[in-house]
Subunit: 345 residues, 4 copies
């Protein structure tokens, strides 16, 4: 059994990790770290784990969290991961960071968008951007994974093959994204109250949301030339689910050609599903699963194509993808312990 600790276990991504790890056939959860709930039983924070999880939260700096584990998940607010990652690596443990700290390869870009200094040098260069569909081989060999953001996962998976194949006009990409409320986490804020969010729909964070440099970094890498994107996130009154509606100018309007490229890149992927033309995935079709579902529409009339990309923001958009990375790092079957059947309706 692989021994696992989660540092930052009481937020929603931490909780989502526990949901899947407790059902993972090759994993034993040995430690839960929490800044706010140290000393409290996990089941008192999340009573739905009654008779399932019997652990007590420990201080995030408790060295046993790292000592006892083979793999450590960091599910912390942005900017806090570096010291934990260092300690883990120093003891030759595997680390998967669900925060943003190791995602950007350029310390300068990081400090521009996050207004603080991030990791640099050798530490940063060890980090692999953990999108298995693109960096599978690198993930298998690293001890430090920077788990992608939720919005970037939808956008990069949708665009990567087409950019790689030079099928898109590089300056034409617009990403209109919609997220469920769980993406805002479990912190008590007026803007996340039921009475505020329910029966409401809003845009936020435009035009300079922090996921922009992450998306651009990966798309630029794919295209082999600089890519800049317009990105607008919105908040949808639902708990789980994320969609990106992506507008771009393609170099071809032959649907079969587009389809063939997707098929070529993703036909064997266990967690990507391609839809036939005219069918567009709903967020509910991936609820609770690790899938990224993709559909597209070509509109010769306007010269654009639209790509619809959906995930569960907590699963493929965070904790499911983190476990997918863990499976790869540990040499397990990539799909092990990861849900494929949505909770519906």
């Amino acid at each position: 059994m692989i021994k696992v600790s989660v540092i930052g276990a009481t937020g929603y991504t931490g909780q989502e990790l526990i949901r899947m790890l407790t059902q993972h056939p090759a994993v034993e959860v040995v430690g839960l770290g929490s800044q706010s709930y140290a000393g409290k039983k996990y089941v008192d924070i999340y009573p739905h784990f009654r008779q399932i999880v019997d652990l007590t939260c420990r201080d995030t700096n408790d060295p046993e969290l790292i000592e006892q584990a083979d793999v450590i998940f960091l599910a912390l607010p942005h900017g806090l991961s570096v010291p934990y990652a260092k300690k883990c690596l120093a003891r030759d443990k595997m680390v998967i960071d669900l925060g943003a700290d190791f995602r950007l390869k350029s310390p300068k870009v990081y400090s521009t968008w996050y207004n603080k200094t991030g990791p640099t040098g050798e530490l940063l260069s060890q980090a692999v951007y953990g999108l298995p569909e693109i960096n599978r081989d690198l993930v298998k060999k690293t001890k430090l994974v920077a788990n992608p953001g939720c919005y970037p996962t939808t956008a990069i998976l949708a665009l990567y093959p087409l950019l790689k194949e030079k099928l898109l006009e590089p300056g034409s990409i617009i990403i209109d994204s919609k997220s469920g409320v769980s993406g805002a986490g479990r912190s008590a804020q007026v803007g996340s109250l039921f009475s505020e969010v329910n029966e409401d729909f809003k845009a936020y964070g435009l035009p300079h949301h922090r996921h922009v440099p992450e998306i651009e970094q990966e798309l630029t890498e794919a295209a082999g030339e600089e890519i800049k994107v317009s990105f607008t996130p919105h908040l949808v009154p639902l708990t789980r689910g994320m969609m990106s509606t992506i507008y771009t100018v393609p170099h071809t309007f032959e649907a079969d050609k587009i389809k063939a490229v997707y098929q070529d890149y993703y036909g064997q992927e266990p967690f990507i599903r391609l839809y036939p033309q005219g069918q567009y995935p709903h967020t509910k079709w991936v609820q609770g699963t690790n899938f990224c579902d993709l559909g597209f529409s070509l509109d010769q009339r306007t010269g654009r194509m639209v790509i619809i990309s959906v995930i569960d923001n907590l699963t493929k958009g965070a904790s499911g993808q983190a476990i997918q990375n863990m499976n790869l790092m540990c040499g397990l079957e990539e799909t092990m312990g990861l849900p494929r059947v949505a909770l519906y309706p």
Copy 2:
């Protein structure tokens, strides 16, 4: 008192008309026509009108519906309005059609997008596209108003001043829209069931939704040159509310210049509110009101601007706008009987 009939009174737009008309100080509702509920008391269909509406639904072809009224609202499924409109006009009554039949000035465009023959000739040419902020004077003089669609209302109001002032790249317009579920009406369909829609988010109707030609007709008119738009509607799990997130390439990135244009066109408008840069309206801020709220963001980095336009799809997107038109046609104060204070939270 102005006497009013509603033909098609039992759908959601019909019901929304009744909500406001019963509180309108210069109106008396005299007739309710329904295809499905003729002979049934209105309060048995919508019990929240208990002690408020005491009328019984009549067959939509009951001539008294027209005879007894000064103004007739048609809230019928698309394709059914022409004979009713003809009868009304023949008796010199005022007609406001909430359906699509009189919105498109070109019968050819109508038949292309609706797969049927629409009105033509003199009848069609009487119809004024009832967006008061643009066609106020024409509305005042006509007996036949084609009440705009909900999506077109958000898009046209957002873009009209900028296109009129030649501030936008004509081929650059992308409209990513999101609608509450009440827009699908009250017909019993699996796709509108609570268990299907709740906790779901989906795109639909792309790339050729029927509101495209309506939007393009009015934007082309404003720009003085042909405008084609990309348009993607989505369904949001909330009852009332609509947002369009509009992407376009502006010729200026001076916010004050954009703001001045909006101010110039809309500064005196009773139902348009402009937000300061950096604030973007939420759908809930207009819930139950006749407002269209507008905000915008300029992003020189990508060369684009984003406009956020929100309405309540049943009010400014349908029945509120219809009453605004009625007020104009009847020489009443334009704002009379129209809600301005949102139901919040």
Copy 3:
């Protein structure tokens, strides 16, 4: 024009007062007091009041709030109203307290259930329990109204006529209540987050919720003998709306007799609607209105009757009722400025 201040204007009941007061034909809002937002423009807290309210919040202790007003609404957390009420009365102003501090006539009962000392003596004895359907004449004559709680409003209105007429077994009353989330107010708490409340249903506060003594006080008064009730509140994932399902043992199973009693007490009430047997009101039928809707079912098989009582918790359950009291205190038409048409759907 009656000049009105709201002290505690930024919570949901404060906001709901402003919603209605700004549309009230005989009222001018002159002052808004806020503990947390003093110095901030109201429209920056609640942007849906853009172009409607132009006031800036003042410190709740600003004497002008009282000085400039004829009527002062106190919408404060429990336990804070007494000093404000005293100051108002000292200047001969009318006060309507939406909190609990003046509702219980026995200081001992108050201190038992609220764990603090409440008002006493002459101050307390001035307070009228502001349920107009029962205490209309007293409300008209007082300067200090204790506005009822939301749950008590549903329960007392449902049971008062039947207890008064000795039609119920006194020890048989069970009140199973369900409330929308806005009842928890706008304070940032994990338990009120969208992701926690959405798709959840829970009971809370049993068996000793603080509304019990208020309900029992009024029912005991009505019955002329001591009434004790079982009361279980639940949280429903909706914003506005409250239902009490009340179980009791009646002395008659003749529906007409029950109906006649209700008709006798409430037939002329502008804000109570009685439903025919077999029809039970939905919360949505009163959304945004000041109605209390009542339906009942007799079940001779089990020897019990069920009464269904619904209100909008923010309107008839708080701010609407407060304005109804204000109208009475000021000699205005009781229904003035109070919504009767629900926002539907």
Copy 4:
């Protein structure tokens, strides 16, 4: 591998069966029968099964559905199961009926509450009421299980031990129940539309809902004397989840005594969780799982106790319980393939 067919596979309980059966390690789904969708691929009805289920629906009368299977689930509207059950039993197959037809042991009671003739004689007497916690041994030995209704599951599990131990006043039981909307099934009805149900709460079906005789039959059996209950179901605006709030008069107010009885009966049950006094289960804590969670509160002041009983109406309330029964009938581990970790938040 056990071969399984589902007749009535396209309703929500059918779909919920498929969700769990496709993940069940000892089951192969061989046949899907549908009245409305015969000939259609299952994935075209429920696209979330893309790459998971590749079957095509067959006519419900296709004999292969029975022929090829070891176990047949009937998930049909009430009144249709008898002929299918007969055919299955004639071929010595195991049948689990999720409808109501075999639940009532008295044909007379059945015809009174369902207004039709149900099964009788030898056929009916073979049927075991499939509540494993009570009838485990009988379920193991039968070929025909009548799977309990959702409301009865909550009520019977909550009350059975206390009635069996003669701890309750027999005439005192009131069951106030609340259900998510998925319980109404997937049929297209106005009353189940999102816009009708969302932001609404209603009672329905009182006082004579069809689950009453089922509850009374089992409680009478437990008590050894006739039990009549008051039962009021309500509709909650959420998809999955059911709570019963049960009021009764206990013979003891010693919490430990009550707790000990529950512990004694359910301490070893894999799908029942007991909560400590003062904690009451939420519906979300069992979302997607096969748990029934129980909490209780004693109130000596009023002489009553309140029991809170929650399930996921589609899982323990229907399809999960059906699979639990299948496991028992087939000699498998009772918990096999049944989810215990809720999808949260």
